[in-house]
Amino acid sequence: MNAPILTDLQIDALTELVNLGVSNAATSLSELVREEVFLSVPRVSVVTRDQAIANLREHEAKRLVGVHQDFDGDIRGRALLIFPEVRSMELIRALVGAELPLDDIMELEQEALAETGNILLNGCLSTMANSLHRSLKISLPEVVHGDGTDFFAAMSNSDETVLFIYINFAVKQRDIQGFLAMILDLPSLVMLQKLLDGYIERSTGQSPTAGHVE
């Protein structure tokens, strides 16, 4: 596969951006559920869209429920917040309180998931956009039930190369585990490199030209 290549420093910069975004978002989630939210270190890889779907299946084989938001601008893609379907009720209980009857909780499921997704994904994406000094158009949250394939339905070519970013999170006291994933389209790799280089220069005060790979 002729994958487009980012330099190590550019990958570092992208990982750091995602880390900033997700950490901010986790802080918001912890305020909502009043428990600590644990995060893994983000993993960034350059894969085809098919491989990204396979990665999701590998990590979470069972039925999943997720919220996704698409973003568009100088960078374009989809951000997802995903749980095993059986755990989503726990999240909702954590959000709205355990005292509600199950029927009411079921009714609130879509709304609570969309709202949680909105807070987390918007928080993450806006931190990234601000750090890159760019604005992103972010779509409304959409709740999807299914497996990895369903989460990327209606996105373009399956053999297209994307950047796949993956972070586990857990609310241990509530036995809630899930993950955040982000698929970044690479129609303009040069633009992404330029934005990352700008971010590197602002962060380090140094021009990242050394070792640049086109």
């Binding site: 190590d8 420093l9 570092d12 910069a13 990982t15 750091e16 880390n19 900033l20 950490s23 901010n24 986790a26 802080t27 912890s30 600590e36 939210v37 995060l39 270190v41 931190t127 750090s131 590197i200 962060s203 380090t204 005060g205 140094q206």
Partner: protein
């Protein structure tokens, strides 16, 4: 008076970023770097830094656990844990480890305030 500062982060970019902020404030201070907990412990033993600036979210050992270990190794060492993860629990654990929590992205004013207070408390006032 010049001090030695250890910067610990698995991300090279993040280390460069912290080094820039520190270099702007105190260009003459010695900066040393570690990419993980093992290197950080080794550098602390060998080079006895005065201050350690530690990232929270690292593979393997997290920054708070490392902060506690470094403080046990050298109780005079001033440690700050840096993170965008500003959860109450993370801040509490940082403080319980005898370290100071600094929000990421690190600003000159936040770092200057930490260095001034920690170094004047434990040692002579910084320049």
């Amino acid at each position: 008076m010049s001090y030695t500062v250890l910067i610990v982060d698995d991300s090279k970019l993040a280390r460069m970023s912290v080094a820039r902020v520190l270099g702007t404030l105190y260009p003459a201070w010695k900066r040393i770097e570690a990419a993980n907990a093992v290197e950080a412990v080794q550098q602390t033993k060998e080079l006895a830094p005065d201050v350690a600036l530690v990232d929270f979210n690292m593979p393997g050992k997290d920054g708070v656990t490392l902060a506690a270990e470094l403080r046990a190794l050298d109780p005079k060492l001033s440690v700050a844990v840096i993170s965008a993860n500003r959860q109450v629990e993370v801040i509490k654990r940082t403080e319980a480890a005898g370290a100071t929590f600094l929000p990421k992205p690190l600003t000159e004013s936040a770092l200057a305030a930490f260095l001034t207070s920690t170094l004047s408390a434990h040692k002579a006032a910084p320049p």
